[in-house]
């Protein structure tokens, strides 16, 4: 099962319940946003909680995509303006890359 997909606009919000990193509820999760611009992610490293999702927003003028080898995620082409939601449901350290521009990368630590 691959947890990613193109969402038109506020798609990620649907996943969001109340609570943050320290939430107790099993259903609590946070949605984070990472922007892609100038062939770079807006951050190089981030920490999220198990069950959180990240919305990758292509704010660039060129196509990108999202590849996470360890999670078997490969998103297909992500045109400018398109968003990709990824649910991180297992703990570990994951390298998220653009498969088109491999120098674009962000490390996501899921705790």
């Amino acid at each position: 099962m691959k947890y990613f997909g193109f969402k038109a606009s506020t798609g990620a919000a649907a996943l969001v319940a109340v609570g943050g990193l320290g939430a107790i509820s099993a259903f609590a999760s946070t949605s984070h946003v990472v922007s892609q611009a100038e062939k770079a992610f807006s951050t190089k490293k981030m920490e999220v909680a198990v069950g959180d999702s990240i919305t990758f927003v292509n704010d660039d003028k060129v196509k990108h995509n999202i590849v996470i080898k360890k999670m078997d995620v490969s998103s297909g082409i992500q045109k400018p303006g398109e968003k990709i939601d990824v649910l991180f449901d297992k703990n570990g350290k994951f390298k998220v890359r653009c498969g088109i521009h491999p120098k674009m990368k962000v490390t996501v630590v899921v705790k």
């Binding site: 490969s74 297909g76 390298k95 890359r97 498969g99 521009h101 120098k103 990368k105």
Partner: protein
């Protein structure tokens, strides 16, 4: 001794790493001239080629002398193959720019492989590995060819048992990885650490970048400008190691789908292969992912007009016309990227 002349070996031995070495500031670059080229434009082109002064090692697998030494043993050890005849160095031979001089590699049972052996030079700066980028780290990459049936055909569990049975290796692993068993991970980490130390020395081109006007010929200087302008090689072969680490269909006659196999069959990646760096490129013939072009002249002809027009062709591939003299200039520039590297001592392996 000029700081810039310190060899990579002494940088490593002295434990001097990125944080300790200041990057060369742009203002230190002397003003250079090439006839007919705007000095400011030339300066911009040159600044993009300033070399880093230290090798980057990842947080997950930091450098140690012991790891690099063990990795070198493993790299040159034919017992890493099922036949005990092929080592990593059989194909990645330091004499041929860490390639094999063949159009495509030869693996287990002398089987011809489908693609040209890529160099291991300067991979410390690599992002993802193999012609199609299917390996995410050098650690992971190192284990790929060892296990592949058509390459070294060595199951890793058997290899671990073989290495464990050799006292010298038990000691080397214990020194490199205290409190760890010999494992896939430690084998991969040791080889990757050694590979990261394989760096081309400063070439004549680098000395020119550093400000030595006489380091390269006038022809090579003109070639550098052609590389950056008319021929637009720099669109993909960018930076000091001359690669964007990305993937492009450059219009070669090939059935190989390349990166598309890795990327959900995305049409954009059909026949796309990773841009190789161009350091020591003269020593690395023949060229291209399938070794189909014998000389740099043929490569230039391919990019000028020889490519196939097809939907997946990279937007950066556009025809250009060079005179015979301009072509010679471009080749002279590419020749200036070859460094005189330290001799590689073949290790005596533990028995």
């Amino acid at each position: 001794m000029n700081l810039l002349d310190i060899s990579w070996r002494s940088l490593i031995a002295g434990g001097v790493f990125a944080a300790a070495m200041p990057a060369m500031a742009a203002e230190q670059i002397a003003t250079r001239t090439v006839a007919g080229v705007d000095p400011a434009e030339l300066q911009k082109m040159i600044e993009l080629n300033v070399r880093p002064n230290a090798i980057p090692f990842p947080e997950e697998n930091p450098y140690s002398v012991e790891k690099a030494e063990l990795g070198k043993m493993l790299f040159f050890d034919p017992r890493l193959s099922g036949s005990n005849l092929l080592s990593c160095a059989s194909c990645h031979n330091p004499s041929f720019g860490w390639e094999d001089g063949q159009p495509t590699g030869a693996g287990h049972g002398m089987n011809r492989l489908g693609r040209h052996t890529p160099t291991v030079l300067n991979l410390a700066w690599g992002e993802i590995f193999m012609w199609d980028g299917r390996m995410d780290s050098l650690e992971e990459q190192a284990l790929g060819p060892i296990q592949a049936d058509v390459e070294m055909a060595q199951p890793l569990d058997e290899l671990i048992a073989e290495l464990q049975a050799i006292e010298g290796y038990r000691e080397l692993f214990a020194a490199a990885f205290p409190d760890q068993e010999i494992s896939e991970e430690t084998i991969g980490q040791a080889i990757a650490t050694y590979e990261r130390t394989i760096v081309s020395n400063r070439a004549p081109f680098d000395h020119w970048v550093d400000g030595d006007e006489s380091a390269i010929s006038e022809s090579a200087k003109r070639g550098f400008v052609i590389y950056n302008t008319k021929a637009n090689c720099v669109a993909c072969h960018s930076g000091w190691n001359m690669t964007d680490d990305s993937f492009h269909d450059i219009g070669l006659d090939t059935d190989d789908v390349g990166r598309a196999a890795e990327m959900n069959d995305m049409p954009e990646f059909k026949h796309a292969f990773k841009t190789p760096g161009l350091r020591n490129i003269v020593e690395r013939a023949p060229y291209m992912h399938n070794g189909s072009l014998a000389t740099l002249g043929e490569v230039i002809d391919h990019y000028a007009t020889g490519f196939a027009e097809r939907p997946s062709l990279s937007d950066d591939i556009k025809p250009f016309e060079l005179s015979a003299a301009e072509k010679d200039d471009l080749i002279a520039f590419l020749e200036s990227l070859s460094s005189e590297d330290d001799p590689v001592e073949i290790p005596v392996l533990p028995n």
